[in-house]
Symmetry: D2
Subunit: 300 residues, 4 copies
């Protein structure tokens, strides 16, 4: 199996739409390029931020290919390939591998609550037929199913399920994984407001859409952790905490699109039923971004 | 607008698959016919029981057309047309209307939590472009969003949103709707174990997959309510309560398919990742169905 | 063992305080008398409504004795004797029995979550040393511990634990008890807004503070149930539903005291930190009580 | 006002009972002495660990006096004075101050959910009449009421409410307090399994019963934080994480008493209904304590 170890800031682009709510692929490439040049350690299209479930198969394939072409090997690319059915999940996983992805991410979407066996077989069926690493993603709020630490442990016995992303918002989950699975388990934090707590608990990386807006603060937090400087990490974290909380509370596709506009960058349109932030939300976001930047400037 | 008042037992068929996990449309028609001849008051394909979200657009259209042809006007048909995007929801709603559906049901699916405004515009956009009634369906466990009574009230102001289906499992919600919206509001219960409590609270109908297995008990409960005979309704309800709870706890597509097998009826296959009940679950289900039937026989 | 079967409307008096926040026992006796003459089927001092946990041992004994003297055998008296420690629970249970109580009610108060064994031994220790029936009361919101149906079933094996009061707000719990334990299990509803649903499910009685304010409507609901007249029960229930919800939402001691004032009856003071309803709440309560009474008048 | 800044490891003794379930005050003094000589930075009798709500007024006063006499000024003493009524809370707060306590801790116990105003007045009434600092303690699981960050902020406007203890188990709460109230707000962690995350978030201290069992590991974690050495803090934390989780999951009074027995130290009896760990739990605890000590030895 091709080995790829993801570490640090794993950046999630949004999927921008044009005036007819079609994917704006040119703008998407521009947004990907921004993330790369702003220092992301990896890039992850077709996540929740990229409104994966709102896209057709063709659109997903278009985005997969464009990301890989645009990134062009500068940093690893991990493609979201989650789907309600096993058959479609496998289809997109194979497509991503063939297109040159370094890894795929799979969340066990569910409409009907899945049993542990159903989830295990779902992952195993896909894993056996591809040769790149899989990040198993737990996010009960969006997938409708909460994978227990015991199930995550079982999934890690599948050879190319090598990474766990935890977004249940519970630091104890990460601590349990680290304690039960040993120091070498690669777990990643997907809950923005827990970025500091997760790194303190030993997370290898932070899966986040925040680098679309404040890449420098995100990078500095990670560097402080790498340098074993808790005080500095704390300081960088608190500068961005309110923004991190805001973009989660208002929904990442909506808030990142708006934040790009605050920064003077076109963020495209949203696909209905998602709608732009209202004016009050937009102004709050502007203030929060300004505060982040002010502090950074003050620092230098 | 074409008026259709749904009342009583609104039966939900499963969507059966063949050995290659393709929709088995012949078997589907047989299962629809069973529901009609067993006394359902209406039929509702493409609900959660019918694994709507696991189907392609073509499969949904196939099922819509076949249901309407098979039922052939004997009872009303309400088609599930829910989709993550507004554009696809509208597409399927129009298709259902053109195919001859009497009503459509829409649950506001979400991956990103939708705001009240997003949900209202979603419903309104669809409602304006069709001429048949809409049942707004609240089921936080599967949709990921909990529509407040206030939002439901607002939706009812859209002319052809005329029915509310509540599956949040909270009787007080239904009571609130009835109290706030007046005796004429048409609310329906979608939570099987609350069938008696919901009818007692004034529900106009019961949206349920149980008639695939125990139509007589379902019908008798409804008749007792219509006859204002609480004691009899209580008695009929308690005969089916454990079965109702079981089929919900194990997931309706899985348990209904297994229950059909218990009754000697082919139920087809499931689409992965959904998997059949295990042996222990199957035997429990057999016992529960036997108990329902025993009691009914004893009675006569 | 002395047999006492409680049925129907089990009324809970508040404990009124004087200007120095001492128990006003004369006023208490007046409030008890009101409940008796207004048709309650049983009376239950020292419940949550009676702010049991805010009282000293001496105050509890004073109230126990006064209730029994005042009621004077006209209807059964069930005394709340719950306490964090087993020793104090036993003390008050023995006191109540000696004073002439017909039954005692025990909720397993907890600060530290109790195990099932701890709860069982707690009840069993008390039950063995008294000779009157015990109502085991489940109310996770106030006791901090949720007794599972399995534990309740185990408690019912103790000879004089003969009644179950469910206030978890989940109708399915009551249905499960009824189904598992047979038609003869005596379960009681302690959740006011579920009064209709609980009676429909077969509850033997309704434990409620509402008869302090609207005894006629409470009694009429129960009579309609006894007469197997669901339509009438529904009608009586909906007339009081909003008031029932309001008095629960604002806290029974606070709202009943205020409601007595609305009716021109002294309700005494509260003991700090509990404080009176604010003006807006008071006015809402006045409107809700007026609505209840208007409708009743209209009816006659 | 007398200023006392608590920092670091704030140790909670249990309250041991004799064979008749009376407080064993001699043994209590021994257990307090152990905590002091083992390096606690402060000591806090009559907390949840000390089963405050299970004690009579006289017992609380006995424990207050004995703690202060035994500690004899070597480290600060913070006494728990929480009570359901404002009158009793004030009584115990005054008693503690007169006895020489450095601070008091108050959790807003509730049986009936308290409004924000009720809680504020409760704290303010007590605070005005004593002259030592108050730690406001938020623990929804035991108090039954969840104080919002906004309410905590309001409480901090009372001059001698100078410390906040958060045990809601949500790191984001602490982060919010720190961000909203500034770097100088003194917030303390009361959730053992969140010890590392809370220190990373800037907690001034850790309120914990763990020093009864593993004082060295607790102290070392705090020292690593003070030394800005995240890697070392992480290492010390993971050595104790499983034990911390276990003592919380089985209940602190029960598990600390058992852990003292594992260490060869008499821990007295519990007061009913609390009961000792069962054999399986006891053996698990023994293993976890052994693992903590093994690692520490290996280290030296």
């Amino acid at each position: 199996m091709k080995k790829t170890t993801l570490e640090g800031i794993i950046a999630y682009p949004i999927t921008p739409f044009d005036d007819n709510e079609k994917v704006d692929i040119k703008l998407f490439n521009i947004l990907v390029e921004r993330l790369v040049v702003n220092g992301a350690n990896a890039i992850a299209p077709l996540g929740s931020t990229g409104v994966l479930p709102y896209l057709s198969d063709e659109e997903k394939e278009l985005i997969t290919q464009n990301t890989i072409t645009q990134v062009n090997g500068r940093i690893p690319v991990m493609v979201g390939v989650s789907n309600l059915t096993t058959e479609r999940t496998l289809h997109h996983a194979k497509f991503a591998e063939k297109a040159g992805a370094d890894a795929v991410m799979i969340i066990p979407m569910s409409y009907w609550k899945l049993t542990d066996d159903e989830i295990f077989i779902h992952f195993n069926t896909v894993a056996k037929q591809i040769d790149i690493p899989i990040m198993a993603y737990n996010n009960p709020a969006t997938s409708g199913v909460d994978m227990s630490p015991a199930l995550l442990k079982r999934l890690l016995e599948i050879p190319n399920v090598t990474m766990i992303k935890e977004s249940s918002g519970d630091v104890q989950r990460m601590q349990y994984l680290r304690k039960e699975l040993g120091e070498d388990v690669a777990f990643y934090n997907g809950s923005n407001p827990l970025a500091l707590a997760a790194f303190a608990a030993g997370a290898k990386g932070w899966c986040t859409a925040a680098p679309n807006l404040i890449p420098e603060l995100n990078n500095n937090l990670y560097k402080a952790i790498i340098n074993n400087n808790l005080n500095e990490a704390q300081s960088f974290f608190y500068r961005q905490f309110k923004l991190l909380k805001f973009i989660v509370d208002t929904g990442l596709p909506r808030s990142i699109k708006a934040g790009l506009n605050v920064l003077g960058q076109d963020g495209g349109n949203l696909r209905s039923p998602l709608r732009p932030l209202n004016e009050k939300e937009f102004n709050t976001l502007r203030t929060l971004i300004d505060e982040c930047n002010d502090v950074v400037l003050t620092d230098t």
